[in-house]
């Protein structure tokens, strides 16, 4: 393992310190926590706060999306490990301006349970909270008897939409309805060329041969649904689009937002080449995205690969939310 770190057990506090001190115009840290709040949180007076968070290693998510028009706060857990209820609770307290706090949680047992416990703590203080559990990853079969699908890069689109609505004065109930309406329309699928190395572990989460790729990986080096010899970008795009198509029924009469998300070690050059192939495939279906982002938004440490998120825009308002101006590091 070769990383620019000091102590593998101390990466998160050092990272959060470096982040907040590099961007004091956007961020401040809640003392004695790894929770990061908007530097201008006070300007949210009278509005609903939005708090997200999760394990670290996904930078710029989630702290990079804290700022005007997006999140009020983000709680940074240990690497790939949900943050703890006490810290989430601190962020909720600070994000509450009497109108309640909306929580964006990715669908992992740990995240769901820790945010639940934080909600319980907030309830004691009479802080109203609502939660959306994002599960956009279509690589995992859904089922009532299991944890279900994972929350991955599509979560960033959820942040963007809720953040824009909250900034424009949406109530906690409005946000709840909006989140519920948006959620089933966001679908993501990923691909890995190389797994991530957790600093405290010191070796990649799984091994791929020099010519192998894995389809359907998560953002914590969770293995995916199949492993193959590496192919041209165009064929990888075909596979991912086919999976999305199965789940969203892509249709030229509908509007879509698209996010191509780099996993951390994949350069923009490759992401743009993939986008070129993707846009060609969509064009063949008569689709030109109404909104598109390409870059590193929800990474997985030094994993090489990318994910494709397609979001069916069912209401024009949703597109306005995506285009709403923000002041953040990462969007």
């Amino acid at each position: 393992m070769k990383k620019i770190i000091n102590d593998a057990g101390n990466v998160v506090p050092e990272m959060v310190d470096g982040l907040v001190r590099s961007y004091p115009q956007y961020l401040r840290q809640i003392p004695d926590t790894e929770a990061v709040m908007r530097a201008d949180e006070d300007s949210m007076a009278g509005k609903v706060g939005i708090v997200s968070g999760g394990g670290s290693g996904h930078e710029p998510a989630h702290a990079g999306f804290v700022g005007k028009g997006m999140l009020s706060g983000a709680v940074c857990g240990q690497v790939f490990t949900s943050p703890t209820p006490d810290q989430i609770y601190e962020a909720i307290k600070q994000a509450d301006h009497g109108k309640g706090v909306f929580l964006v949680v990715k669908n992992y047992s740990g995240d769901v349970m820790n945010f639940d416990m934080a909600k319980d703590l907030a309830e004691v203080d009479d802080i109203q909270t609502k939660t959306i559990v994002v599960d956009d990853d279509i690589a995992v079969e859904d089922s009532l008897f299991t944890q279900g699908k994972r929350g991955v890069a599509g979560t960033v689109l959820m942040h963007k939409i809720l953040g824009a609505a909250a900034d424009q004065g949406a109530s906690l109930d409005d946000l709840d309805q909006l989140a519920q309406a948006v959620l089933p329309n966001i679908k993501t699928i990923g691909i890995a060329l190389h797994a991530a190395t957790v600093p405290e572990v010191g070796k990649p989460g799984f091994e791929l041969e020099d010519d192998e790729i894995e389809y359907g990986v998560g953002i914590h080096s969770e293995p995916g649904y199949k492993r193959e010899k590496i192919k041209p970008s165009k064929e990888m795009a075909e596979e991912l689009v086919a999976q999305i198509d199965k789940s969203l029924q892509l249709d030229s009469s509908k509007k879509y937002a698209v996010m191509v998300n780099g996993m951390g070690a994949t350069p923009l050059m490759e992401q743009y080449i993939f986008s070129h192939d993707l846009l060609d495939l969509l064009k063949n279906k008569g689709i030109t995205p109404s909104f598109m982002k390409v870059g590193n938004y929800m990474t997985s440490l030094d994993m090489a690969g990318l994910s494709l998120t397609v979001f069916e825009i069912k209401e024009d308002k949703w597109l306005d939310y995506l285009n709403y101006p923000v002041e953040t590091i990462g969007w």
Binding site: Q78, S109, N114, E222, P223
Partner: protein
């Protein structure tokens, strides 16, 4: 020496558990690699070290306080799935310890808490597969290392239904559940604590 749970042997038990977790930290993370995200050892080590710090800084006067201190340290330091689950387990034991010091009853309460918090049941390839049968053995006064090993080993052939391993579906078969293993240490630590059972 009466065979009963006291603040002192509770601390000894927890110390034994901490030692095991630290000793097997890499092993627990390794178990968490093929069917998880490779952090269970680090999560648990961070937790038990915080527990030890808490118990050293402020020795609890009462059993209930002791359980609560353990719970709070785990809840605020472990994170992930195991943090709220172990935290809930000890919080439930704290509550129950107001009425009884019987470890069978305490662990039955803990197990109910874990099941409620995480929604898992026996057979889902989680720590519940260790907690539930061994709480039962404790109640019967029959807890032995062989029972612990059997419970932990039993998770190997299961298909995971909860937690990260569930994303793998059938491919989770053939791997021990890391949380079951760490729970196994909690029970082994109990056996090794003189005078507690």
């Amino acid at each position: 020496m009466t065979m009963a749970l006291t603040v002192d042997n509770l601390i000894e038990w927890i110390n034994n558990f901490s030692q095991k977790v630290n000793e097997h930290k890499d092993y627990l993370s390794e178990l968490d690699t093929p069917i998880g995200d490779g952090d269970h050892g680090n999560n648990m080590a961070r937790g038990v070290n915080a527990v030890q710090e808490s118990l050293t800084n402020k020795k609890p006067a009462e059993l209930t306080d002791a359980f609560k201190q353990v719970a709070m340290a785990l809840i605020s330091k472990v994170g992930g799935a195991s943090g709220p689950l172990y935290g809930t387990a000890f919080l439930e034991m704290a509550k129950k310890s107001k009425d009884t010091t019987d470890l069978g009853e305490l662990f039955t309460a803990a197990n109910e808490g874990v099941k409620k918090r995480g929604g898992a049941k026996v057979g889902d390839k989680t720590m519940v597969d260790v907690f539930e049968p061994l709480a039962e053995k404790l109640t019967q006064g029959l807890l032995e290392q062989s029972e612990i090993d059997e419970a932990v080993e039993g998770t190997k052939d299961l298909v995971a239904k909860k937690g990260r391993a569930s994303y793998l579906g059938e491919r989770s078969v053939g791997h021990l559940d890391p949380g079951a293993m760490s729970s196994g240490y909690l029970f082994s630590a109990l056996i090794e604590t003189e005078g507690i059972l």
